[in-house]
Symmetry: C2
């Protein structure tokens, strides 16, 4: 039995952050009903990534909205709003990520929803929380990365700011919201009390940097400095980084420089008897020159048996053709209501030895209106 079996989540959220939280709740067993604007629906339906349209919708929409239902309803139509309120009365969880003020304007603020459903867990993602000057700014991933100094941690010292190439802040905010909602559901199960759970993308991006921010505030407010070459973490010394080899790339994590020097037969590296943080650029330069001379498999054959923390850098082709990858069963095929199938990832959490998989694809806009309206008129919802 899935942990969240029999739970109902009414989800007004769009794009990535909110839908990621509800995806995880769906993975864990909840029934998730997306409330979408008739006509256009979740903006993510037409947010094309790589120009890839699958069955009329963007690939990103399909990836994040598998295993959910869609109820098309317009806040501005009294009958639709009435249906939405009926759903909310039966919901365990309500989620939204509108800009500040939107839920208040339609009469669905936490206070108002509580009058419909006193034990509701109401989850909300904002871009910038209480930040006075920023709270009306668009809560978009790259912009929050930039405003929270994140791009000064990746890439090399002279690269300028380098963005992390995935929507990391959206994803973290979504996982934090899911954590808060799950904790509130636990408390609800014990004490029968509702909760308001709030997460901002800003706070999620700052929490992500908890180690570097803690160091900054206790180390004389010195800005993080990336190494000149082969940087992979502004605060870690050599050899930490990714290195080119004769035929590919090799990652090296923490390790002793004298031990590496001997194993790799690198005389120039033997000069560094101490692995001082201040010497990391010089050490990395010597190492980079040396590692270029042989193939990745040559180096791995030496380093792995000696328990040096190292790995080949794979790409999607080599990763997905690995025999082991098939064993993980990480890519699942899901099927939409109209029979269209596509491949996507599964939930990373395993419970009681079982992967949390579901073969249900993403919903067409309004696909579940008839079903849900019937449940409402039958008094089931």
């Amino acid at each position: 039995m899935r942990p969240l079996e029999d739970l109902l989540v009414v989800d007004f959220s769009q794009f990535l952050s909110g839908p990621l939280a509800s995806l995880r709740l769906a993975d864990l067993g909840a029934r998730v009903i997306k409330i979408e604007k008739p006509g256009s629906g979740d903006i993510c339906r037409s947010l094309y990534v790589s120009d890839l349209i699958l069955n009329g919708e963007s690939s990103i929409f399909h990836a994040i909205n598998r295993n959910k239902e869609s109820f098309a309803a317009d806040f501005k139509q009294p009958q639709d709003l009435n249906h939405i309120k009926k759903l909310i009365e039966k919901a365990d969880v309500v989620i939204h990520n509108f800009r500040p003020g939107v839920m208040e304007r339609v009469g669905l603020s936490f206070e108002e929803v509580k009058t419909l459903n006193p034990q509701v867990v109401y989850g909300e993602i904002s871009g910038y929380g209480e930040h006075p000057a920023w709270k009306s700014k668009p809560g978009q991933d790259l912009l929050v990365q930039s405003l929270t100094a994140l791009p000064w941690l990746s890439g090399n010292q002279d690269d300028g700011p380098v963005a992390m190439g995935l929507s990391i802040v959206d994803m973290l905010a979504g996982t934090h919201l899911a954590q808060g909602i799950l904790a509130a559901l636990y408390r609800k199960a014990i004490h029968n009390t509702g909760a308001k759970v709030e997460v901002s993308m800003l706070a999620s991006s700052l929490d992500f940097q908890f180690e570097t921010i803690t160091t900054y505030f206790n180390d004389g407010n010195v800005l993080p400095v990336r190494s000149k070459n082969n940087n992979a973490h502004a605060y870690l010394g050599a050899p930490y980084g990714i290195y080119q080899t004769a035929d590919g790339h090799l990652a090296l994590a923490m390790g002793s420089i004298p031990v590496l020097a001997t194993l790799l037969k690198c005389d120039a590296l033997l000069a560094f008897t101490e692995n001082k943080f201040s010497l990391r650029d010089q050490i990395k330069t010597v190492l980079a020159d040396h590692l270029k001379t042989q193939s990745t498999s040559h180096w791995l054959a030496i380093l792995e048996p000696a328990d040096i923390w190292c790995a080949k850098v794979l790409d999607y082709k080599s990763l997905f053709s690995e025999e082991g990858f098939q064993v993980l069963d990480f890519v699942q095929e899901v099927t939409m209501g109209d029979g269209f199938s596509y491949k996507t990832t599964r939930c990373p959490i395993k419970i009681d030895g079982e992967h949390l998989v579901s073969s249900k694809g993403s919903p067409k806009l309004g696909e579940h209106n008839a079903l849900i309206l019937k449940e409402i008129s039958d008094g089931k919802n």
Copy 2:
């Protein structure tokens, strides 16, 4: 009342991924007891980041282990093991991130712990889950990033693989474990059943790439291609990226090129009447040349009023000196048992309008042995 008030978490985990999960449970109200090896303790105590030692321990240890207790005990000593088992009998949650086989060897596998405590929620983080060839590899962040192709998404096309400069995989695995544990606690509250929750760093890194992996598998298995310059997402067209200005850097998210051309008075950009994905390198090059000619504030004054999704790129100094940052109250001072205080971040989740803060710093190794041994002898634990 915090959601997890009165919950006991017995945490054997070290480094980042597991301790991050238990940090979140502590933030949410649980009592977390770290079980550490006498003498050295959590390896993270001496994993120095930026050579910064605070009160005898690495800054990263302090950042991730605030609000926890430490019980020094050695699995190999029968009396210590007996104490550990007493704690486990009373625990709601047990967490570990040892390499495969370690908990079995000391007699604390899930099956054995269940005989001590049938309703226990047992959470486990591994490096590579069931991957047959990799399961004994070290589960280290940069290595998992490299093996899961993540470094091909950041940086520009000719940069080679660029690591994300924070321990992103550790952090995601920790948040996923916390999600699974919280969901299992909810089920336990309703049905009084325990659970085994498993997360691997490998699965967490793949889940992180759910959008790009879904696109890859449905788009003819074509590898993601970063733009030649100003890349911030391999699958997003121009202008998505970070651009140099005359005095700093400006981030631009999604937006219409003809609208930008007019606003920025960039004639060369007017040539691009269509924002084709295939033209992104040319568009970005024109834009990059143009944006260099004026200051960041000049461009923001034009773009923000027109609702273009843009932001300044801040660094820690400018971010933390922002007036709004103080309002967020994101940096808190915590105090250790010996009176030593340090600054660190708080939990990003807000519940019932309250930030989840705690003034308790990280524990000294074995700091709570006397207290916990007394509780055990009093039959409280």
